[in-house]
Subunit: 383 residues, 4 copies
Amino acid sequence: MSDYTPRPEHKFTFGLWTIGNRGRDPFGEFVRPPLDPVTSVHRLAELGAYGVNFHDTDLVPIDAMPAERDRIVREFRGALESTGMTVPMATTNLFTEPVFKDGAFTSHDPQVRAYALQKTMRAMDLGVELGARTYVFWGGREGAEVDAAKDPVEAITRFRDAIDFLCEYAIDHDYPLRFALEAKPNEPRGDIYFPTTAAYLALIPTLAHPEMVGVNPEFAHEQMAGLNFVHAVAQAIEAGKLFHIDLNDQKPGRFDQDLRFGSESIKALFFLVKLLEESGYDGPRHFDAHAYRTEDQEGVWEFARGCMRTYLMLKSKVQQFAAHAGIQELLAEIRGTGHTRERYSRERAEHLNAQTFDRAALASRRLPYERLDQLIVDLLLGF
Amino acid sequence: MSDYTPRPEHKFTFGLWTIGNRGRDPFGEFVRPPLDPVTSVHRLAELGAYGVNFHDTDLVPIDAMPAERDRIVREFRGALESTGMTVPMATTNLFTEPVFKDGAFTSHDPQVRAYALQKTMRAMDLGVELGARTYVFWGGREGAEVDAAKDPVEAITRFRDAIDFLCEYAIDHDYPLRFALEAKPNEPRGDIYFPTTAAYLALIPTLAHPEMVGVNPEFAHEQMAGLNFVHAVAQAIEAGKLFHIDLNDQKPGRFDQDLRFGSESIKALFFLVKLLEESGYDGPRHFDAHAYRTEDQEGVWEFARGCMRTYLMLKSKVQQFAAHAGIQELLAEIRGTGHTRERYSRERAEHLNAQTFDRAALASRRLPYERLDQLIVDLLLGF
Amino acid sequence: MSDYTPRPEHKFTFGLWTIGNRGRDPFGEFVRPPLDPVTSVHRLAELGAYGVNFHDTDLVPIDAMPAERDRIVREFRGALESTGMTVPMATTNLFTEPVFKDGAFTSHDPQVRAYALQKTMRAMDLGVELGARTYVFWGGREGAEVDAAKDPVEAITRFRDAIDFLCEYAIDHDYPLRFALEAKPNEPRGDIYFPTTAAYLALIPTLAHPEMVGVNPEFAHEQMAGLNFVHAVAQAIEAGKLFHIDLNDQKPGRFDQDLRFGSESIKALFFLVKLLEESGYDGPRHFDAHAYRTEDQEGVWEFARGCMRTYLMLKSKVQQFAAHAGIQELLAEIRGTGHTRERYSRERAEHLNAQTFDRAALASRRLPYERLDQLIVDLLLGF
Amino acid sequence: MSDYTPRPEHKFTFGLWTIGNRGRDPFGEFVRPPLDPVTSVHRLAELGAYGVNFHDTDLVPIDAMPAERDRIVREFRGALESTGMTVPMATTNLFTEPVFKDGAFTSHDPQVRAYALQKTMRAMDLGVELGARTYVFWGGREGAEVDAAKDPVEAITRFRDAIDFLCEYAIDHDYPLRFALEAKPNEPRGDIYFPTTAAYLALIPTLAHPEMVGVNPEFAHEQMAGLNFVHAVAQAIEAGKLFHIDLNDQKPGRFDQDLRFGSESIKALFFLVKLLEESGYDGPRHFDAHAYRTEDQEGVWEFARGCMRTYLMLKSKVQQFAAHAGIQELLAEIRGTGHTRERYSRERAEHLNAQTFDRAALASRRLPYERLDQLIVDLLLGF
């Protein structure tokens, strides 16, 4: 059993907002009392987590006076030090306040855009002060319900300007930060700009400091659009841009559920853990999820425990997969030896053009995917 | 009424496979007889179209002997010349034949990959011979049902290798071609690689010849995933990569319907037409759709007529929008005068950081989107 | 223009919760101040509405003392009387309070179930006192995230028991009420029991008082699951069970948007208005929607105006449809004269069995749906 | 291992069309040769299946002469007898032929409706001749793309007439058949009538012979609409109407995939097996799925083996669930002792109305669903 007990070396992190989620939803009020950040740090440390992440206002209330801010930061830092917990990532809340109701960096209002920059700079200061090395941007209000009102080309320009500005702010202050952009297709806006991880991967090469900026894919967000998350993360990895990851669970085609990791999509998340573990990704395994609204505070800790445990169980399945002779033989048969890469030359093209291919023979090659997939189901079910 | 009569200057094109669709589906057989390409050219010309596009095997059967190929091409060219129709785009069918059942450029089998290159080179030759300036790649079989079997990182590498190879082939032969990559999330594969237009936008900067390669977004394909197509096209335009476009219609979250343009998503397609017309896009307006399976051949021409007519009706609505005083006043109010762009300097950052923002005042700014959106509904309904 | 000005005879109603929606969502706080019910009645009356509907706690706060309740009811009744507004429908809020976090009528806890009955009986008293003739049940918390925990068979039994109990309460008190059950597939619960209108239509014949109970279909709710709402309402009509209807708009496959009626699904809602107007449905046209969160209070009234105006514009299109010679000719051709109904007799079966059908001839019958559908698009666009 | 070896007593059945699926899809041709029914029976018997089901034309080609029909039936019966295999279910193909392109029982054309009745009567004769006890109706073409063209109320009437007719045909011929109606939301039609299992449950009480008619829910079909299949089956069970079931797998919100049972939705299908096994359902476990198109014929048998094996593995998990002390304790805690049912009486209502409920206390009751659900994940993963 001990293999599935989380330890800091596993780099599991939670947002303060995840274990602190109080269960309000569009149709119901809070069901859990507020959870104080210091308590969160202590409880997560006891559970074996590696760190906590936060939005600025998760830690420091938006209207806190400087003295209150300092006290909060001091106590929070004390909790980190006494537990050995880290803050690998920080981010800005640019969505809760009514001022952001029509966007932050992409708002029509230059004052709102300016305030969003200010809020982010201050939040970056706070994050760096507490040790963050990754800074996440989720533009939850950057979007539209009415496509007449906002120019979607201009929205891209404005968003780029903001990221360029903030990259330079980080550089100018010698902040050891990398930025990670997090996509979501919709909710709370009818349509959010940059709806997929790939939309941000396409933006990054056009930034002033592309080397500083990567992505923070979130399982639930691609899943809402029914997209294959493993493929999205693979594209980020191939581009060298997987800077952070948000782990959770979700049923496709519905509201953002942020379910306990592994509670729904067992097979898809097995392949995600496999990809992460085998790709050399060594960043945090961050859970951006929350307990069911029916749960009390003890249930929240059960939820946190479950996220980590399921990750470790799936990781052990990944190791079994690698060691499974039947699977590896099938894979070798399926993958064959065809790893040669075609490079263009006139001769090679002429040679290819002159070849005769036996289409029927090529089509008849055995591809035992049903057998392979069944072995994976067996492995997942523990048979 | 004459304003809604298509003329070649409107640059409407159809694929041979669209008006030639014979109505087979997963549960039923062909309902319409084959349609000969020469007839298609003549009928489309009569209807006011600008051109036709094709997959290699839409025009020349896969097993045609050289003499048959030549005859077909000669007769097809004759039809083009006698009608003034053009072939702005060509593409390769890399999905119908069983040989491609597990992918073409991303197949495990180096012979299949080689054959896919050969088939594409020959199809490029054919396309260029008939005047094509855009070459589309839709990788309908590049994907997976079993994520254990194919490495999604390697799939990207293989796809990139193929595009690089074919770019060099085009360059080496002085072909006046630009490539346009077409994304789709699923069907016929469980998950297709590069599921969204943005996934290709992210790939392009990593190619050997990025300047030659853009995208061919298709409405139905983004719509299947419930994504906002106008936003996807806007990102392509902002990146200078809208090389071609596939117009049709579709209900979200279901099988690929390829419905008559404007038959379902009236409002979304109004904004698409607005974006295309106002962005300066001057490429073909290509309809990648087909008639209902219940239709006979005459119904196919009704379908084609309807695609073009609805585009023109929506285009006239775009002009009304621009001329509508009430809408323009609201837009001016909403968009304000805040077009200044923030550029980083230490002084600017310090200034911003020192500012005090009145959040409540900023949040209370009027954003009359309901009024604006209702005016658009009125305009669409003709009131 | 006056034809599109709402008047009480059009029977447009709004929930107090719709125009009173304050714009809170899962990621953001209230953006609009509370709206007092008396003001709502006056403003809606000015706009031409017929009535207002409410959840018990929309009108009377949950902890109101009897004197406060009486004052509120008196003032509300005064507003109704002075404006001529009606209360055609009332309902119970069984979802906001934490006590209902795991269901009301289907809760595991007999005390919660008992409280839900009490709250509903009192809300029925209130509704009847103010003139309601239809009583709606939306079981927003009757569902599950964890299918191990609740028995879905028992959930049906418990729900039936509650409806039977409350029917008898109404009968025993001579309340002139009919019940209307409202389905939703998910949100706020992972899965809500009775996810579709049809699920309730299937339940009703098993109730103790089926004649008292019908359905209240909501466009957005079926649309979330990508189902054809017109077909769902048609089944309710065919069963004599369309007791009420909730009108709004929604994009499929995402969170519950409750958009302004007709702001997205122009064509689908045209067919809905056609079905309602032509079926003889004479109940309220109730809008269960709310203004965009970006809107201020004036925008809320624009929203309400827009819902009604679009209904009337679509209704005028329905009249045009009926009067359109081209459409009616096509319909006559398509529908043919085949309205004979087969009734079984041994002779008829033998006769049928002995017939020879010319499949090819039958298959070749012209079905000009593309033409017909294009005429509808023309009509919708005002051409 | 032997526990997961299928045996006839497990009542696993396959359609001839499932193992005989030749891999054609909307974008590609057949990849597998035809599979002869006699071979299918033998191979399935070897694999441990209980029976095979068929559409009329799966067994007897549509244009077969009487002598050919007799030979086919004789040989097929011979295979059944020599293997001990059964034919528990039969059905009619009312979708492949162009004659049904706009519907069978709901076609506008009285000749098409008559032919559909004839074809079904003959197929019932064939099914009964071979031992079928359940007759399935899947109306794949009963639907519309154009809602102007067909009246959805009339469609219900026509469908009811057909079922009533055919019930009487069965009664008149003393056929020992029960009918099972199978719903699907879309594909091949844009929208299919009776889109959900519940839509048929609502129809049944309005039929002339409701006792003869139940439902045949299919996992993939409800899953396409993102609905909870276990809840749909539970409603069928509660109504005494689960006459047959179609098992397979599917990702939500996309084309009909008919994947190997248990290959995607491990947790949802665990709860389905649990419901079936614990409800006393003793009918066939019918797999309506097919092998990946990449598979050859041997792969088809792997696919069939996998369907049955996964069912048995999940069934053993169901037994573990029942025997798991930790899970059962939690369930007992969660479900409590509140199984009393409220029955109306004036006294009871008055008593309830007079009670004072402590909402806060009721809301604070512990509901350890996270803990429970994690135990289920552990159990599914074999930990």
